[in-house]
Symmetry: C2
């Protein structure tokens, strides 16, 4: 059992993206931080298993990295994608994400994680312990029980416990034993598999790396994001029943020839078959819960608090922003890093900070979970429709005219730090206005047509009839 | 480790109400049934802790007990309650539940459980093991690991595992590891505490035992159900913040004098204070999940599958009906008890039966969870409103005229076996008709009034004006 520290001690369960970034923030407050990670050190692995290979980093994630002064050395590896490239019928058409050249950025998940772990390792008040599986938490005594890789139990004591241990969080499970936590998990009917499009023989990208490529096919879709080695990582999302129907390489090639013909020569038949059958098929879950904390003892962040489907590219960004928002709220309640009240915070002040975080962040995270769910329909289907393109053009026109007052939803989510819940409600309200104007336009047309019709009718006989009726006497 | 049995073996986790009744059904199929219960034998306890003392048994529960031939000896203890007795301003007014003398029945939870355990103990192919805490399940090997009271691990093997282990089901938790289970749990903002109203000095009921008594107070309420010892068990439901505000006996008595004055002399000040501060305060949770099964290996029933708030008195009834519905579906897929196909069912037939059960029962159980949530508003608030009473009278009038075609919602839920989901959808549709007729009545009145007004107006000058205009030339 680690000796209780005179300093303020924090146990962060989970050394993935969010846990590692949060450790940087907490270490900057002078706290004695220990990160416990279930898996082995990702830096010793060739490729992390069972997780998506690349991610889209946008405004919120960048702001959070900046806030922890953790961007340098990482930002240089980003590949900006300024829009979607829609693949239909062998043709490609581009749709910009922003209206002023904004881009989201393809980045390697493993590289981000390694970058943050490297940064942590240089901080004197941070310890990282790999291969520590959380078994249970005693919240009253603030003791965490871990199983080490040799099977022995390791007990750790901490003033504060952070759960950054992902969708299937053990910290959350333990939290549910001591709080009345509302919780929901919803699997969508779609799974995914990752494929690879290698560089060309000349070592170049085989498609434009400045776009996120989408093959929208209504009920399913494939996407591709560029990697720095000039390859693309492609993800095929489709209902489980479609996966079940593909049993042989012939099934697979037939399916691709029918649906994604233009991608076959770029991927190569052999690699396509190999990757499809070798790579794990992942499920997609949306998780919401409330509250995120227990007194001043524990707080969950990232996927542990709000797992979302990946269709808005906000999972990492939202998790990183959690760390930034938490830091902002902590500063409000216990003061800036470096002050005495921050270095050794009182339980009362921490409790209040967590209460505020839990309440405000929950609304935002759940809004983002919903937006991510809606965006699946947009990506695989709406983007192909004229009404969608017209609405987007109209909104873009207004946005260019009034850049700060009419901001498209995608821009609010990906290129601003407007709280997710506010972005969602603005967008909903705007949708009602569009509907209203649309209806006014239709009604106006109908009423005008009727008016003209009536006038013509009246002139051609109606007046005579009325006159005859009225003037009979 | 228990030796694999040549017979078809079933492990039922949970020896509460639903687990015990289901064991009776399964034993009747000749299966080798072992019931594992976490707690000690309820028959050795004076009072089971932390659970409601009495429950309302109605049609579905009675049918399920009848279906297992498990009613005799229990039905004699039932206390029929034909309606609600509403306590407002010190006065009582009765509202019947049914329109043909139907009643729900107050029954002692402990007595029901003991009755079923006694019945099980007489069946040769049933074993009951108390103080067995489920640790984990290996679904592929069909092995259950239990911790016994002496701390040792007990391994059991079974062809089929039934989870009847309540709201915080371990079987469900293990099921979530092998299935993509959608799951939600929602705590309501209200807690409850049980109180006791003893018999009078003469040993009689102090209120009418033929009613379920309610003190509706809009945001909270108290209810009372009669017990066979002539006492009433009262349950006070209110927001947690109200519980938090009552810190002293003076706070409690002040609150009761203000809100439930008529109950104080019947309970007695001393007992009220004693019970309120001694008895545990319980939370109320609504749990939904899907699917309920894993292949032919495992199925969850009762609260483990669908915990509901207690405001429709359907928790036990729905759980009991689970057993009956499951038996009906099993008979459809594997044959009647006694047939060879039922005694030793194939995995394929069982799997299909569970798939059907999971799909149909889920819709019904979730409908019931929703109905239970709606009924909280009805019980604590709607029952006091004129519009509610008018609607109820009107519906009762129609029901008396057309007893089989217009059935009030409460009657469908409590006095019929119409599937819950159907009852809910019929009731929703009917609500739309009521709204429609209401609107037609309002519109009719308005249009008539406008018509009369226009006719009068036209007669008093309008015609002259039109005539002047038309005949000017």
């Amino acid at each position: 059992m680690s000796a209780p520290n005179k300093d303020f001690s924090v146990a962060i369960v989970g050394g993935g993206l969010v846990g590692a970034l949060n450790a940087v923030y907490f270490a900057a407050r002078g706290w004695n931080v220990t990160v416990f990670e279930l898996r082995e050190d990702i830096r010793t692995l060739k490729q992390a298993g069972g997780r998506s290979i690349n991610l889209a980093l946008s405004k919120r994630g960048i702001s959070a990295l900046d806030g922890a002064d953790a961007g340098a050395g990482l930002f240089e590896t980003l590949i900006p994608m300024s829009g979607r490239m829609i693949h239909i019928g062998g043709k490609q058409s581009s749709q910009n994400y922003g209206y002023f050249g904004e881009a989201i950025n393809s980045v390697d998940r493993k590289l981000v994680n390694e970058h943050l772990l490297n940064k942590l390792q240089k901080m004197p008040n941070v310890t990282i312990k790999f291969l520590h599986e959380l078994l249970s938490i005693d919240y009253e005594k603030k003791i965490l029980n871990f199983k080490k890789s040799d099977g022995t139990v390791y007990k750790a004591q901490a003033d504060l416990i952070i759960g950054a241990d992902g969708s299937y969080s053990r910290v959350r499970r333990e939290l549910m034993r001591v709080t009345r936590m509302n919780f929901s998990q919803e699997y969508i009917e779609h799974g995914y598999v990752e494929l690879n499009m290698p560089p060309s023989e000349k070592g170049e990208y085989q498609m434009d790396p400045g776009h996120l490529h989408i093959w929208p096919r209504q009920t399913f879709m494939m996407i591709a994001l560029p990697n720095i080695d000039k390859s693309f990582t492609m993800t095929l999302f489709m209902p489980w029943k479609n996966f079940d129907a593909i049993k042989t390489p012939q099934d697979l090639l037939g399916f691709f020839e029918d649906k994604f013909a233009d991608s076959i020569p770029l991927i190569g038949r052999e690699l396509l078959v190999k990757d499809y059958f070798k790579n794990p098929k992942g499920s997609l879950v949306s998780i919401k819960c409330k509250p995120y904390h227990y007194k001043s003892s524990c707080l969950i962040i990232g996927d542990a608090a709000h797992a979302m489907v990946p269709f808005y590219g906000q999972g990492m960004n939202c998790g990183f922003e959690d760390c930034l928002v938490l830091d902002e709220i902590l500063t409000k309640h216990i003061g800036k890093p470096g002050t005495a009240s921050s270095t050794k915070p009182t339980a009362e002040a921490l409790g209040k900070a967590f209460e505020e975080y839990s309440a405000t962040r929950n609304a935002d995270a759940e809004a983002m979970c919903d937006l991510a769910m809606y965006n699946y329909v947009e990506m695989r289907s709406s983007v192909t429709k004229l009404s969608y393109k017209l609405k987007k053009s109209f909104e873009g026109f207004l946005h260019r005219l009034f850049p700060t007052s009419v901001i498209p939803l995608y821009t609010m989510v990906s290129f601003s730090r407007i709280p997710y819940s506010k972005a969602l409600s603005i967008s909903k309200k705007r949708g009602q206005w569009y509907d209203f104007f649309g209806r006014v336009a239709v009604y106006g047309t109908v009423v005008t047509a009727l008016g003209v019709g009536a006038a013509v009718g009246l002139r051609n006989g109606g007046l005579k009839y009325v006159h005859g009726f009225m003037c009979r006497k």
